[in-house]
């Protein structure tokens, strides 16, 4: 309900006493209602304040009249304040008198006769009811708040918004209420577990980490990232979808979505099927995530403050061997398979020789992992928002935020400053315009030199600290330098000023000396500074009601600057020390580099929208539009030697050859699309949506650039039918279904239809007669396969489901079946080596199907004074590769893609067991031979000879009989490559989340659980730290290794270099990666209004404590089933939300 400003404040005093009773009553009642009303703190005035104003207003009218108990007749129109559409079917009743009541007609009109002074209650479906006091006859037009629940919730859709009851496609929404609860700096994590059909895997505890978002399965092996649209600007990221490698390195590890402050977000809509997403055409096949930020509302200025402070910690580290256990194991392993003529002591040198003074076996065990932990890492977030305005004139939302989050590992943190201004303005009746400006500065220290698995493998006797070294850290290598007689700074190829003295550098802790990351933290500095400006301006003209012409221009620009410093001294702490004087003049103290990467994204859009209802019952909504997007990614990189260590003096001088660099455009994209959508509904009963988009992309070859993407959806609201029984059991029921086609071009690389020329190889010529190096010449190579017929990835989706409101609107339930098939999947394929083509080629090679069901259930009710709600969602995914080019599987053991299987399945050997005795070996060898270790069936002495304690593998298949077969299903008693088989699937079969909430007298609690199931993962850490084949430290599980006295059935004996190849990719390391997590537990307390009202300033004040990731139930033996590198942390936070 909205009211114009109260002008005459004098009435306050006159009326106050009359309404006091009513007011206090309201206070209590409305506090109880909080959770029902889905009111975000910022979006509406507080209802009690509304009520207060309402009463003032009514009283102002009433004041001139007596309060005689006479009947009055009131009439008016009820409409929606946002859409301005009339609301039919609103029930108008009198409080306390259930017998009096009417319902608004199709134009939203009502008329009712009631006793003067009665309280009219306007309620509509499950909306928050509104009440007004009537004391005389007249016209009362009412705007019924749209902060409604469920079916009347307004959902943001592509190029518009729609009531949930009118939606035909598959859309999930998360609103600010939930988003504000996330403690991550990045908004994608708000989707985790809260939306059916949306799988989110967090990148772990690293604040820079990117989350993985996959909507309804995984459509493609290529770029499976959804499209993000922020306030109408489709985002573009240079290097999107690429982690690691050259492009991944330039893209940097920083998650750019952390540059969108979640606190500024009003809602996130996820468009999951073609009928909802086809309007985004070519970019939409992986789903579309529409982020709508908060805007000003027509209300008095409101200031909100949200602040939280917390700490996070990694819950556990790997248990590894101590020094004594380590020595015992390494020696046992070596003696089980020694090199010829070399004893253990000779092989590994004095550090491993108990008779030598340098022997490390008596050293203390270094706590490598523990030292890496940043205990009680600080998380801090402060946001201030100001919003207000007048819908008829100008409304505004201004926000500023500061956030800092430390990584749970040392030398890594993220700091963000963000400001935002959203301004909307109406000019007269037909023109409205607005602008969104978002400016974010982010600094990230990314200097963590190691991770927990690496630290776990560090040798335990090597010390971390040294009191004698100037850095305070124990060096890893030592060496002295001698001047290089050939050094000539006048030459371009000057050579190093100094060389290592003969025999240097030396590793101080034996061959397996490990680098000292803590010294790296002191001697290197790698940080990123990012600046992002994201803005969008629009103009909308509404010449006649229902017809809107809108033009918008969006710009997203961000710069990512990496600054990296390496001190010259760093070599002493490296296990692979190179000559630090290479390529420098002998005086430099270190190397400094700067790399800038700038992404520019310009998006222009024009849309024409016409919405009209004719003959009373027929409503059409037509959308026509065009969009033109251009994206560019530019990179420059410079590095040079610096003659000082002072950070103030770090810069790059032009000192060839000591300065190196490159600069240029890495990516350019252009996309041109035209689209149209026709929506028709009849009597809110029958719905038809048809859309078509044509897209044209710069990424494809001429003749293949353009394609069309249609969609079609229908819905039927059964509950609106006359024949549908009016029961309280089913309040609303809608069946819906849709079909559509989407495209994806992001899987395609750049200019893959062309053959590029690359200038990076080089070759020297002219050496001889005392010159050993010759002259280096730049050469060229043409590493591409130009695919001139590369075409779109096309996704066909079919979905059908129903939405229901049940049990007096206490329950909302949605069930949906989806079936998606991706055709012509673009795969960047490493071509068979015989082709000699170096770069991966982009080919349309496959067809993949994802299908499953989604369930979403919500329940809310009241139990005495306690309001509570439960909501949950559950999604299943069945992923199948339907067809591959010539049926040829691709991908290796860690992620195989093969017809009939789930994508990226684990492919390897099945463990047979561990030989417990020679008799078992003899029995096995009588039948089998393991070709991988050179055994053959006819010659018992060929290849490796098993010993008790060795692990063996199963013979599953036979060798292929002809070139058409890849293997023969009849086992052949030879264990070899053909016996690799399905070991597990890496795409979860189902995932779910559920939330429990309750409030009582100002206290509120919410508990959020989330989990995934039916998924396996290869435990790479265990394969590295349980193999016992080298000098790296091992997990303490290896204490249970097979020995004659400990006949283990799971861990084989320790053998240096693993001659039985027990560490091959096998089921040994495949584990169940399902988990069930308590993601978030939050307990809050809202100060009573009666207390706040005394302040006269504070409208609302809530305190809360939150615990994140309090427990996880999983069979995964690593640190965390999502990631072991920087595992998820356990967090405790304290926060306040205040409104003024």
């Amino acid at each position: 309900m909205q009211y114009s400003k109260q002008k005459d404040i004098n009435y306050v005093y006159i009326i106050l006493s009359k309404i006091k009773n009513f007011f206090t009553n309201c206070n209590k009642k409305l506090t109880q209602k909080r959770l029902f009303m889905k009111m975000s703190q910022n979006s509406r005035q507080h209802p009690c304040r509304l009520k207060f104003l309402l009463v003032l207003l009514i009283s102002a009218f009433a004041n001139t009249f007596s309060f005689a108990q006479t009947n009055v007749t009131v009439s008016g129109k009820v409409s929606d304040p946002d859409t301005k559409m009339p609301l039919p079917g609103v029930s108008v009743t009198v409080r306390g008198k259930a017998t009096i009541g009417v319902i608004t007609d199709e134009k939203g009109n009502y008329a009712i006769t009631v006793p003067a002074g009665a309280v009219l209650v306007f309620s509509y479906l499950s909306n928050a009811p509104e009440e007004i006091v009537v004391s005389k006859s007249g016209i009362k037009n009412v705007l019924l708040s749209s902060t409604a629940k469920s079916m009347d919730e307004v959902v943001v859709i592509g190029f518009g918004s729609r009531k949930k009851k009118d939606v035909t496609g598959a859309i999930s929404t998360v609103t600010s209420k939930d988003i504000e609860k996330i403690t991550a700096l990045s908004p994608e994590l708000a989707l985790q577990g809260r939306t059916a059909g949306v799988f989110v895997s967090s990148g772990g505890g690293d604040p820079q980490a990117r989350a993985t978002v996959r909507i309804r399965g995984v459509n493609t092996f290529g770029n499976a990232e959804p499209l993000y649209v922020i306030d109408g600007v489709p985002l573009y990221e240079g290097g999107s979808g690429v982690n690691g490698g050259g492009i991944g390195d330039i893209r940097s590890p920083i998650n750019i979505f952390s540059m969108i402050n979640p606190q500024d977000i009003e809602s996130i809509s996820v468009l999951k099927d073609a009928s909802s997403a086809a309007i985004y055409g070519v970019r939409a096949s992986n789903g579309v995530i529409l982020i709508t930020t908060k805007r000003g509302k027509s209300e008095r200025p409101k200031v909100e403050i949200a602040s939280s402070f917390g700490i996070q910690n990694i819950k556990k580290t790997f248990s590894v061997l101590n020094t004594q256990q380590y020595y015992a194991q390494v020696k046992e392993a070596y003696n089980a398979n020694p090199d010829a003529n070399t004893t253990f002591e000779q092989k590994f040198g004095p550090r491993y020789n108990a008779a030598n003074p340098l022997y490390g076996g008596n050293n203390a065990t270094s706590g490598w992992q523990n030292e890496l932990l940043n205990k009680d890492a600080v998380m801090q977030d402060v946001n201030v928002r100001l919003s207000g305005g007048n819908a008829a004139a100008t409304s505004y939302y201004l926000g500023a935020g500061y956030a800092k989050q430390e990584s749970p590992l040392k030398a890594n943190n993220l700091t963000r400053y963000s400001v935002v201004a959203n301004i909307d303005s109406r000019i007269g009746k037909i023109i409205s315009t607005g602008i969104t400006m978002r400016l974010v500065q982010q600094s990230a220290l990314v200097n963590t030199a190691s991770d927990l698995p690496t630290m776990a493998s560090s040798i335990p006797f090597q010390p971390i600290f040294s009191s004698t070294d100037p850095t305070g850290f124990a060096p890893v290598a030592s060496g002295s330098f001698v001047p290089n007689p050939n050094f000539d700074p006048s030459l371009l190829d000057a050579g190093p000023a100094f060389n290592f003295a003969p025999g240097d550098p030396r590793l101080l802790w034996g061959d397996n000396s490990r680098f000292n990351p803590f010294a790296f933290h002191a001697l290197t500095d790698n940080r990123y500074d990012l600046l992002r400006a994201l803005g969008n301006a629009y103009l909308q003209i509404e010449p006649i009601p229902g017809l809107r012409l809108r033009g918008s221009l969006g710009i997203d620009w961000y710069n990512n600057e990496r600054k990296s410093w390496t001190d010259l001294e760093q070599w002493r702490f490296s296990q692979t020390a190179g000559n630090p004087y290479a390529n420098q003049n002998g005086q430099a103290k270190g190397t400094y580099g700067e790399r800038g990467s700038t992404t520019t994204n310009i998006n222009k859009e024009v849309t024409l929208n016409y919405n009209h209802t004719f003959f009373g019952n027929h409503n059409i909504d037509i959308l026509l539009g065009g969009s033109d997007q251009f994206g560019k990614w530019v990179v420059s990189d410079l590095s040079g030697r610096v003659n000082f260590t002072d950070p103030l003096y770090r810069g790059i001088g032009n000192q060839p050859p000591f300065t190196q660099g490159f600069a240029g455009v890495l990516q350019e994209d252009a996309l041109l699309g035209y689209f149209g959508r026709l929506s028709y509904k009849f009597k809110d009963k029958y719905y038809v949506d048809v859309s078509l988009r044509q897209d044209e992309s710069s990424k494809l070859a001429p003749g293949f650039k353009k394609d069309k993407f249609p969609s079609f959806a229908v819905a039927w609201r059964l509950s609106a039918e006359k024949f549908f029984p009016k029961t309280t059991f089913i309040n609303d029921l809608k069946l819906r279904g849709g079909w559509g086609r989407l495209g994806n071009v992001n899987s395609a690389g750049y200019y893959k239809f062309l053959s590029g020329v690359n200038f990076t190889p080089d070759y020297p010529l002219g050496s001889g007669n005392g010159n050993g190096t010759g002259t280096q010449f730049q050469a060229t190579r043409l590493p591409d396969f130009a695919n001139t017929t590369l075409t779109w990835e096309k996704l066909r989706t079919i979905s059908a489901g129903f939405d229901a409101q049940l049990f007096n609107n206490h329950v909302s339930f949605t069930a949906e079946y989806y079936d998606k098939t991706t055709f012509d999947i673009i795969q960047s394929v490493s071509l068979p080596p015989n082709t000699g083509i170096q770069n991966n080629a982009d080919l349309n090679i496959a067809q993949v199907k994802n299908s499953g069901i989604e369930l979403q259930l919500g329940y809310n009710n009241k139990l005495g004074p306690v309001n509570f709600n439960v909501s949950g969602n559950f999604t299943t995914v069945k992923n199948r590769v339907v067809k591959l080019n010539r049926g040829t599987p691709i991908g290796g053991e860690g992620g195989r893609i093969e017809e009939g299987y789930s994508m990226f399945y684990l492919w390897g050997y099945q463990v047979g067991g561990i030989f417990q005795s020679q008799a078992e070996i003899d029995a096995w060898r009588a039948v089998y031979a393991d070709g991988n270790i050179g055994q053959n069936r006819t010659n018992a002495t060929a290849g490796y000879t098993y010993k008790p304690g060795d692990m063996y593998f199963r013979d599953v298949y036979g060798n292929p009989k002809n070139s058409k077969e890849r293997f023969n299903t009849t086992p052949d008693s030879i264990v070899n490559n053909n016996d690799r088989t399905f070991l597990g699937k890496t795409i979860p079969g189902f995932y779910y989340g559920f939330n429990l909430g309750a409030d009582y007298k100002g206290f509120d609690i919410s508990v959020f659980f989330q989990g995934v199931g039916d998924v396996q993962k290869y435990n790479g850490v265990r394969s590295g730290l349980e193999g016992m084949g080298g000098l790296a430290n091992q997990l303490s599980t290896t204490l249970n290794r097979w020995t004659t006295s400990n006949p283990s059935k799971t861990i084989p004996r320790a053998v240096f270099n693993d001659p039985a190849s027990t560490n091959r990719f096998s089921s040994r390391y495949v584990e169940n990666a399902s988990y069930f997590r308590l993601r978030n537990l939050q307990i809050g307390y809202t100060l009573p209004k009666s207390l706040l009202s005394k302040t006269g300033v504070v409208q609302n004040f809530r305190l809360y404590v939150s615990g994140v990731n309090l427990f996880t139930i999983t069979e995964w033996t690593g640190l965390d089933p999502e990631t072991d590198g920087v595992p998820l942390t356990r967090q405790f936070l304290f926060g306040i939300n205040a409104t003024f």
Partner: protein, 504 residues
């Protein structure tokens, strides 16, 4: 204020709608890369020269450190023969039994050889199609094509020696239908090498100027042609190949044995008169980053070669065992042979070739010391073998061996190694002399595995576990299985038309 907003809003609408209308012009979505493409390149002869050098550059991958001593593909050249051994337990190229299609080094070696072939094929196509007037320098287009053919031949020569039956690709792959060619049989790969060397010999210049030293010449082509023909003769026992080899080897002109045997393995005497074909190892002008391959970057991509298994120097072998000459090699020498001082230390069997006068790159890991792939003393011994096996004058054959021994003798100015008797006529005896001399002269030069492999095919030697004289007791050589290494899994797993070699 309102009018200002109104005006600016109108401008916005006009801007967006007009640019959108402009977008209807095709040009907006017709972006082109910011660098040359095949269509816009090959306009000057320099473009062709650079592309030719790009083929040579691929040789780097065959011998570089490759980010770890366990990854270097120099090992399959050095280790499988009976001249070099190691203490490294489980070393697949020493004990054979665990040599698998999944071997990282085999996969790498295989793919790099085909990449080299791909680069050569492209250059050959471009030279064949070149428009008149682009080449200004006389004969340069001939030379380029000759170099490409030579290098392709060298790649096929290696593929045959390592894998035997991998696919033959001599045309550019332009369609996805051509990704999975069948494997080959017999000597098909070697046949192609012979064809390529034959044609290259007719195209290549006799010499290059000093600045271009290191590029292949007609001598290189004739040398490799002769060698490949002797190899094919061994495998197929075709006498005509021996005579063909003699003809080719006789065409070599101007090459001679250098006075100092050690100069063949020293960084400061590269590309000398005895050398017919070398890999030009060097260091990039920025830094020799041995973790980044040659293709990575001009400034830091590796140009070096990895000799640390011999020199055991610098950051060296990082815990892996270095290599040694076998006791067999030590025993093969007369104790007074002056070549010993440049080849190995008799006591601990340390390898000295390439290590004695080595020079590390700034990486402190790899070296700039060129790998001599073909040198004239090898040619002389091949000639001896070809003459002997084709029924030529035994005295001539013995004479060629004696030339090699004479150079060695002259270094010590002593009686050893003495000439073999030129009156000996027993072919078996002379063949044994040739085989022994090849072991002495070429030990540790990455030639031995190819030699023993072909002699085993020819039936004049038998390969078994003791033959390899290894430091390791776990050698498990199976014949004929191990004569061809397995076709790597990177090919087998994706190309259904290639059959795995027998036994794997």
């Amino acid at each position: 204020m309102k009018t200002l907003i109104f005006k600016s809003s109108l401008i916005l609408l006009v801007v967006t709608s007009s640019t959108l209308i402009n977008s209807c012009k095709k040009s907006n979505v017709d972006l082109l890369p910011r660098g040359p493409t095949e269509q816009s390149y090959f306009l000057t002869e320099d473009d062709f020269t650079r592309t030719t050098l790009g083929i040579y550059a691929k040789l780097t991958d065959l011998f570089w450190f490759n980010g770890g001593p366990g990854n270097s593909t120099i090992t399959p050249f050095l280790l499988p023969g009976d001249d070099i051994t190691t203490n490294q337990s489980n070393e697949e190229f020493e004990i054979f039994s665990n040599l698998q299609p999944s071997s990282g080094r085999l996969n790498y070696l295989y793919s790099r050889l085909y990449q080299l072939i791909n680069r050569a094929i492209l250059l050959i196509q471009k030279v064949d199609e070149v428009a008149p007037g682009i080449y200004k320098t006389p004969n340069l287009s001939k030379y380029h094509k000759g170099e490409a053919l030579f290098l392709r031949g060298y790649a096929y020569y290696n593929l045959w020696n390592f894998f035997g039956t991998s696919p033959l690709v001599i045309k550019r792959v332009l369609s996805s239908d051509e990704f999975t060619p069948p494997g080959t049989t017999g000597t098909q790969l070697l046949d192609q090498a012979i064809k390529d060397f034959t044609e290259a010999a007719t195209l290549l210049p006799p010499t290059w100027d000093a600045a271009n030293r290191g590029r292949v010449t007609a001598n290189s082509a004739n040398g490799m042609l002769g060698k490949a023909l002797v190899f094919r003769a061994s495998a197929t026992k075709t006498a005509a190949d021996y005579t063909g080899a003699i003809t080719a080897l006789n065409k070599i002109s101007g090459a001679q044995l250098v006075a100092n045997f050690d100069d063949n393995f020293a960084w400061d005497t590269e590309n000398n008169s005895e050398s017919l074909f070398e890999f030009q190892a060097s260091q990039a002008f920025g830094f020799d980053n041995v973790w980044l391959d040659n293709d990575f970057d001009n400034a830091v991509g590796a140009l070096s070669i990895y000799w640390a298994f011999y020199c055991n120097c610098g950051n060296g072998t990082q815990g892996r065992s270095r290599y040694f000459v076998t006791p067999k090699v030590v025993a093969a020498f007369n104790a007074n042979d002056p070549r010993i001082a440049g080849s190995f230390v008799p006591g601990d069997r340390t390898v000295l070739k390439y290590a004695k006068r080595d020079k590390l790159s700034p990486s402190n890991v790899a070296s700039i010391n060129n790998y001599r792939i073909l040198r004239y003393s090898d040619v002389l011994l091949l000639k001896a073998e070809a003459v002997l096996q084709s029924g030529g004058a035994t005295a001539d054959a013995v004479g060629f061996i004696n030339q090699v021994r004479a150079r060695a003798r002259a270094m010590g100015a002593g009686p050893e190694p003495a000439d073999f008797s030129s009156t000996e006529t027993n072919k078996t005896t002379i063949m044994q002399w040739i085989m022994d001399e090849r072991l002495r002269e070429l030990a540790g030069e990455g030639q031995r595995w190819f030699d023993v492999r072909r002699w085993a095919m020819q039936g004049i030697i038998t390969l078994n576990n003791t033959f390899f004289n290894s430091n390791l007791g776990t050698v498990s050589f199976q014949s004929p299985k191990h004569l061809n290494f397995p076709i790597p899994s990177s090919e087998i797993d994706v190309n259904p038309n290639v059959m795995q070699n027998t036994g794997y």
